[in-house]
Amino acid sequence: MNETDHVSEALRPYAEGGVDEATERRVERHLRECDECRAELAGVRALLGAPPEGLTEIERARVRRGIADATGADAPSRRRRALYAALGAAALVVIVAVGAFYTLGTGERGGAGGSVAVSEDRAEEAQGGGQPLTARAFGGPVFEEDAGELDDAALRRTGSRGPVAAVARSVSPERAEEVADDYLESLVDAAPDPVRDQVQTCADTILEANEDFTLVPAYGATGTVADRDALVLGFAWSNEERGSLTGYMVYAWPTPAGCDIPLSYQAGEIPRR
């Protein structure tokens, strides 16, 4: 068989729809007669049609850190400064003053010096001011599947309408204490290796800081906040006055830095149905 009769070299542009009509006719005429080229085209289409395999944000950070280490740059800390600069410029370093949430959340630990919290009504601005916040869910009692990318508004929705709300509604106040440990355990199990320990540590930190309240870990996710790797955890909570679980708190901490100063903190009421 004469190799030059095949249309191999035209198959990639053909599959992408980038050939002129004459070439298209030639390719299609040939494909009708040639099993080999039809199989080739199937291979090309499989490669081009497969969803793009990008880096996850954790992997991206790992690669960039590896490059930075080997080439003498301190990339992560520069990005972090850029984050604060962006947030500061947009006047978005809002220490949340939503009453109980402040005490519950970062107030005692981070204090005014370090905690970065974007209140709900400013969150829209945050998207314009800095990078969008994205996250990838890895687990939780109602969030078993990879939820894909979540933008900033979607992340808040994970509190008010998403998995946190679902957990809040499905767990009666009497059972809240009892399921909290199980839910945390399932979250830790579902967490990807690089953040597993941090999930446990951060959840413990929050649970301990709020021991007067009932907190139920609802979901976990990894993602980025303004180019910074972040671990996201969502909690449903209640206090004695409220009885049922009616509040949400969603934290994003830098990974792998620890659980002291969140990059972002969102909290609010879960609307009644």
Partner: protein, 187 residues
Amino acid sequence: MDRDGVSDERLLERFVSGDRASFDELVHRHEDRIFAVALRITGNRADALDATQNTFIALFRRAESFRGDARVSTWLHSIATNACRDVMRANRRAPEPTDEITAVEEVADVERAASVRVDVTRALRALQHEYREAVVLHDLGGVPYDEIAALTGVPLGTVKSRISRGRAQLGRLLEHTVEATPSKEER
């Protein structure tokens, strides 16, 4: 300094004359595509991550030796190809075709779209390394035939036949897992 819309080649020049941020921009532009190619060639994320990292470290160290007779993206692909070989050799994870063909069959009845990429990755692992490398570089990386010949050091005709055979094997392996796309002449 604004770096949007600046060509890769210009960024590399700026980096060579001391602008570190231009190097970072090159990393940001190309890391996903290099990773995608490395993942297809190595067949697993751990090796692909190492290869991606090593590719850019090599770019950093060898930037001054860039001749300018090819595009930076092609050059990166050639560095990545070698990085994949090194990583696979170091980790002794040469793909085992027979196992992987079984794996393809096992997932044949999975219908979800997400499974397609798993199938492609697995099917690719069933190919001989030389075939996989050529197909991935050309079809995924967009590297022209002659540049693949130059960077892998084999004759053009060999590159053509590797790409043809690799694609056809891939197509046949995936026949029952990827939905047939209606071809244009059938409309």
